[in-house]
Symmetry: C2
Subunit: 133 residues, 2 copies
């Protein structure tokens, strides 16, 4: 299975915990999630089982418990999601998406600086090309 499917909302919430905390038990994920929302422990467990079935997470045994970790890196998943939105809502126009992103929230000067640095590199060196497929 080359591409796992797009994560759903609940799945993305869990992935964010895994990306931030590294490989985690169900308990750890569940506790980290508890700040944001309240669900039963078995809900977190079941979701992680489904995610593993879908190929979104990997599972390994660790002293009689299961340890889960994301199958795809955060940046890779973000890129897929952004590409999906690009096609679905912006007709593939990156500039329209970027302009709407910049308009949708007040962007901090630090963030603007980062974007400019990416767009106008000091040296004429080529920007990073993607090409994951």
């Amino acid at each position: 299975m080359p591409h796992p499917p797009k994560p759903t909302d609940a799945e993305l919430l869990i992935l964010r915990v895994l990306w931030a905390h590294g490989p985690s038990t169900v308990r750890e994920v569940h506790d980290a999630l508890a700040d944001a929302r309240t669900v039963a422990y078995t809900t977190t467990l079941k979701t992680l089982q489904v995610m593993t079935e879908k190929g979104l997470t990997l599972r390994e045994d660790h002293r009689g418990q299961h340890l889960y970790r994301p199958r795809l890196a955060e940046a890779e998943t973000q890129q897929r999601l952004v590409r999906d939105l690009l096609d679905r809502a912006f007709g593939g126009s990156t500039s329209k998406l970027v302009l709407q992103a910049l308009a949708s929230r007040r962007t901090s000067p630090e963030e603007l600086r980062e974007i400019r640095r990416f767009l106008n590199p000091r040296s004429p060196k080529a920007r990073k090309e993607s090409g994951d497929d």
Copy 2:
């Protein structure tokens, strides 16, 4: 109802037709959609009925037929969607989203120029520093 809910995939497809063609009958939407995918006429009709119920579209009578049009402008909907993704997948960091957007596809020089124009509005200081014009 102030905010209509986020459009689903099928609904967004229809909205894109409406934004491009202006107020349209079910038949017109259905025909425009037929290029991309094949569904029964009543599927398009039903989806438009649901969308109107949700507040995504407005309906008016026109010579015994119904004319549908989007309730929100394209840019407004795009902004909502981008903000939603921003929160769900990027922890609210606009710069991360923008960078991933730029990395996710080869962006044409024309699009890059547009983004730069937006980021570096005509100001002597900015022009002297970046010299991108």
